[in-house]
């Protein structure tokens, strides 16, 4: 409970004694490149493979001839959109971006760069952390949209090239009983996950004390705690919104 209290106080510090707005705009774009653009490669690779694996494994489990083949497309669609694109990618995103945020802030803390900002009269938490949280919260949903598209595409490639399903059947499966809210639900989840990853990792990194060893620990804790928070939030949102 104490940690949660400290976390909330930390978040409230981001909005007190802020710097001029134009400074945040510049920092937001810088962070968006680091957090969003630099994560595209890993998201592309992960998404293509999770879609492909889902298609192949669904085909493998279809032992009854009574089940139509287009079900592969339907399962890939629902798995990718509802769970794999927002949640699985979030775990990968936490590993890449979360550790980067915690490591960067931790290093700034132990090398007194954070103190240097404070001495200048700059709200270091707000200046350093707020743009990261905003960038992550806004860029992660875009990555999830990309991930969902590529996941479905990966399933299509694996399913058709592997001879498990024809292209027409796969596309029929994708369109069959499509629920639009699933996409909205995935985007809502991605906003929440993006916020959780950046805020938890910043919290862990910002309060690092000690030396290089502690920076490493902060990075590990940031990833671990982000993953736990993602899974807990995933369950809560599923209970609340579906």
């Amino acid at each position: 409970m104490r940690v949660i209290g400290r976390f909330i106080l930390f978040l409230s510090r981001l909005f007190v004694n802020r710097e001029p707005f134009k400074i945040y705009v510049k920092r937001f774009f810088e962070e968006s490149i680091i957090i969003g653009t630099d994560s595209i490669f890993i998201v592309v690779i992960v998404s293509l493979f999770i879609g492909a694996v889902t298609a192949v494994q669904t085909a493998y489990n279809m032992v009854s001839p009574l089940i139509p083949t287009y079900i592969i497309g339907l399962i890939v669609r629902d798995m990718v959109v509802l769970e794999l694109a927002p949640t699985f990618t979030a775990v990968v995103f936490a590993g890449k971006v979360g550790s980067n945020i915690a490591g960067g802030l931790g290093t700034m803390r132990i090398s007194e760069q954070v103190d240097a900002l404070e001495v200048m009269g700059i709200n270091s938490a707000s200046y350093l952390v707020l743009p990261k949280i905003l960038a992550s919260t806004l860029m992660y949903p875009l990555l999830v949209i990309l991930s969902a598209f590529l996941g479905i595409w990966g399933g299509y490639i694996a399913g058709t090239l592997g001879g498990y399903i024809t292209p027409e059947e796969y596309i029929y499966g994708l369109r069959y009983e499509f629920i639009e809210f699933n996409v909205i639900f995935a985007i809502i989840k991605s906003f929440v996950f993006g916020f959780l990853i950046a805020s938890i990792s910043s919290f862990k990194g910002y309060f690092t004390q000690g030396g290089a060893l502690e920076v490493g620990k902060a990075s590990t804790n940031a990833v671990t705690n982000s993953c736990i928070a993602i899974l807990a939030a995933d369950f809560l949102l599923a209970q609340l919104l579906i």
Partner: protein, 251 residues
């Protein structure tokens, strides 16, 4: 002028500073000395507001820092320049951008004025040629000089230095000491230096305050330090062979 009155600080049950008071005058190099773990850096951080003291006040030209409004506090902070032990340069910025950073954040100067000011400060510390280098590409002594340039770029009135000579060779240490002293006199700054380097103390210390186990037990000029009869101070000052030889030479 900076005045500190009855500054006390404890971490859990360990008392680190016990009612420390002092006055640091303008245009002088004021030094806080003492062995490792006596609370020098904590005192410096209390003065600049990085650590809140449990008790006591700090006055910057008679303005009460801890009881001031947020705007006054911010105004005081913007007159403070600080050189950190590890220089605390921003890794992702070049030397020029490091020095320019306070101007970008806090001043309303035009781009041309900022460029001129940055060049002036880098030239003052003899680093104009290294302005495009990254902090990882320059030596420890150069990093300290960049730190000094960044500390004075906003026309600071108060300069704080935390162990400015740590990790430097004797020649570079003297260079940094002299630079700090010159800048202090040139711009009439109130400079406070935390150090345990006796060479620095003897070289540039106008006012010296000795801390021992969190208490101020001696203050005076660097000239008087050798005549002190305080046992703790003598143990600290004459701890190395060079100072012992010096003491025996002067009788």
């Amino acid at each position: 002028m900076i005045e500190i009155k009855n500054i006390s600080k404890a971490f859990n049950s360990k008392v680190v500073l016990d009612s420390v008071s002092a006055a640091f005058e303008k245009g002088k190099t004021n030094m806080i000395i003492g062995a490792s773990g006596t609370g020098k850096s904590v005192l410096l951080k209390c003065i600049v507001g990085l650590i809140d003291p449990d008790d006591g006040n700090v006055f910057f030209d008679e303005k009460d820092f801890y009881h001031a409004s947020k705007s006054v506090k911010k105004e005081i902070r913007r007159k403070i320049g600080m050189l950190f032990q590890g220089s605390a340069l921003f890794d992702s910025l070049t030397v020029e951008k490091n020095v320019r950073f306070p101007l970008d954040m806090l001043s309303k100067m035009s781009a041309k004025e900022k460029n001129e000011r940055v060049d002036f400060c880098l030239d003052r510390v003899d680093l104009l040629h290294a302005k495009d280098k990254m902090p990882s590409e320059i030596s420890g002594g150069m990093k300290k000089r960049v730190g000094i340039a960044r500390a004075i770029v906003m026309n600071s009135q108060y300069l704080f230095c935390d162990e400015p000579n740590s990790g430097l060779d004797p020649n570079t240490s003297i260079l940094i000491d002299n630079l700090i002293q010159e800048i202090t006199q040139e711009y009439n700054l109130t400079t406070v230096i935390v150090s345990h380097d006796m060479n620095s103390v003897m070289e540039i210390g106008d006012y010296v305050m000795f801390l021992h186990q969190g208490k101020k037990i001696w203050e005076g000029s660097s000239q008087n330090i050798l005549d002190s009869e305080k046992e703790e101070l003598n143990t600290f000052v004459f701890s190395n062979k060079l100072m012992k030889k010096y003491k025996s030479a002067i009788g």
